[in-house]
């Protein structure tokens, strides 16, 4: 797998960049730290075990599968660690550890390495692993546990309850049991590890945008679409709109999962289409589907659309004239023949 063969050299000017995969992945890990700290406070020390198992299994799975496939090692680029971390953030804290490990193995071996490794996965590995675990252990994933800070005090270890997204519906609006918006913003509700604390995720997301690791288009367009549709669907109920935005996995999805380089479009207009599409699907699943939450499915579906979005929004070079189709094909054939 020589990198040289993969690069298409265009006419100058060329822009050099000091970005490396390792550097970018390190930035993502740094950006995920606040949410990790928040989740330890909210869900207790078991969080650390879930994160550790997910990350270690992911790195180990990457190492072993690369070895089995006789390909060069790629664990040094930290992408496997990021996948493990993101997967852990998408699981409830009371998930049995062998199931967490199974999720990491599915993410790395099945979704990533079987399709060729980093840069070749057709959907986000961590998200697909989450969906697999959701269908494999439906009871585990819906019964999220939390050790509430202000509601129940420290004398109780944990409480299981419906995730916030189960407490809002189009017919009855916001349930009276639903946590307050401040609780939602801080994250002291039930849910998956990393998705509950909106503020911690926003800090991490801002860091990524400032470091220019991710472009703000996808998160802004994604969350904006969900907010807009929610406020229309709930007939101008501002609380319900904020609740939809802060609840579930929308913020972690918009900042950390939907912005994955491999599975999101590279063109600007493509990013808009991708993010608005994801927002639309999320709202359709949330409001009309039988599942309470649709972020993971919407991102996966848009991941699959990404190649088509990219080919539709490919930019035209300056002074580009549409060539006659047959001539172009002939030329390409001639070139290939000359090469071989």
């Amino acid at each position: 797998m020589e990198l040289k063969n993969k690069l298409t050299v265009n006419a100058s000017p060329h822009v050099g960049s000091a970005d490396t995969t390792t550097g970018i992945m390190l930035d993502v890990i740094i950006a995920l730290i606040p949410a990790g700290i928040a989740s330890v406070f909210i869900f207790g020390a078991r969080t650390l075990a879930v994160i550790a198992v997910a990350v270690i299994t992911a790195v180990l799975a990457e190492f072993l599968s690369r070895k089995a496939m006789k390909r060069e090692q790629t664990i040094g680029d930290l992408s496997a660690a990021v996948t493990g971390l993101l997967l852990a953030y998408n699981l409830p804290s009371n998930m049995p550890l062998w199931q967490v490990a199974l999720g990491s193995i599915i993410a790395i071996v099945v979704v990533k390495q079987m399709f060729g490794g980093i840069g070749q996965n057709f959907v986000n590995p961590a998200l697909l692993a989450r969906i697999v675990l959701m269908s494999a252990f439906p009871g585990r994933m819906s019964a999220a546990t939390f050790a509430g800070l202000n509601k129940i005090g420290w004398d109780i270890d944990a409480v299981t309850g419906a995730t916030p997204m189960g407490l809002i519906s189009l017919e009855s609006g916001l349930s009276s049991d639903a946590p307050s918006l401040i609780e939602m913003f801080l994250g002291t509700t039930s849910g998956c590890l990393g998705e509950v604390s909106a503020i911690a995720l926003l800090i991490g997301g801002l860091y990524l945008i400032i470091r220019k690791v991710i472009s703000p288009i996808i998160p802004v367009a994604y969350i904006g679409t969900v907010a807009l549709i929610s406020i229309i669907a709930f007939k101008g109920d501002f609380n319900a709109m904020i609740y939809e935005v802060l609840g579930g996995g929308l913020i972690i999805g918009a900042f950390f999962m939907a912005t994955d380089y491999t599975t999101s479009p590279i063109t600007k207009s493509g990013k808009w289409i991708y993010a608005i599409g994801a927002g639309l699907i999320t709202c359709i699943i949330r409001l009309f589907g039988s599942l309470p939450e649709g972020v993971s499915f919407s991102i996966i579906i848009m991941n699959i659309f990404t190649p088509h979005i990219e080919s539709l929004t490919a930019p035209k070079p300056f002074g580009y004239v549409k060539p006659e189709k047959k001539k172009k094909e002939k030329k390409a054939k001639e070139k290939e023949e000359a090469k071989s």
Partner: protein
Amino acid sequence: MADKKSLGKEFSKGLIAENPVLRLVLGTCPTLAISTSVENSIGMGIAASFVLVCSNIVISALRKVIPSKVRIPAFVVIIAAFVSIVQMFVKAFAPALDASLGIYLPLIVVNCIILGRAEAFASKNPVLASTIDGIGMGVGFTFAISLMASIREFLGAGNLSLKVLGFGTNLTDIFNLGETDVLTAIGLEPILIFILAPGGFFCYGLLMACANKLAEMKGKPKAELKSCDSCPLATSCAIKIEGKECAK
């Protein structure tokens, strides 16, 4: 030409090298739908094998009588006749199996393995060779579908229904577990996705890879994609540069 081939080879090719499910990728619909329990899979395998052997015999015997322009309708009529016999037989003697196979029992009529073997083998070869081919393919189908079912049932439900036409036992009964399943008993829990459709596809893919590897070790050609033409991701996928076939 087929007379010179040893009949043993006609039988054994159906097991791995030309396994109808894992190598020829025929009969995928019943394979995916039925392989959620070993008991049903064996029942399905036996029913389909019976139809396959009988239709192979009749079609091969009539191969010089059937005009080639109407051969497909003729094959279907012959196959449908045998499926009706099997259906009545199962309804009468194994009503439980009939209930669990449901629509997939009459659907044996359109099972690609049977029509495929009729078209590719029985209509061109003598009766004995066609019979052996049918038995080999039937055993291969039963083996593949039961193997897949045992993986899916064990991981997805924590049980193995080791029954043939109502006789036999369950894995949970062997260990006297009552209502709980084997996986829960050892501290794990069933991975539900394996008895759902995605788990079926996943299991199928892995088994196909294994069969491919086995056949390759025996010196048979690997079944693989020859070009990227049919792939929707071809424009944005970098694998084509790596693949030798596609780059040319």
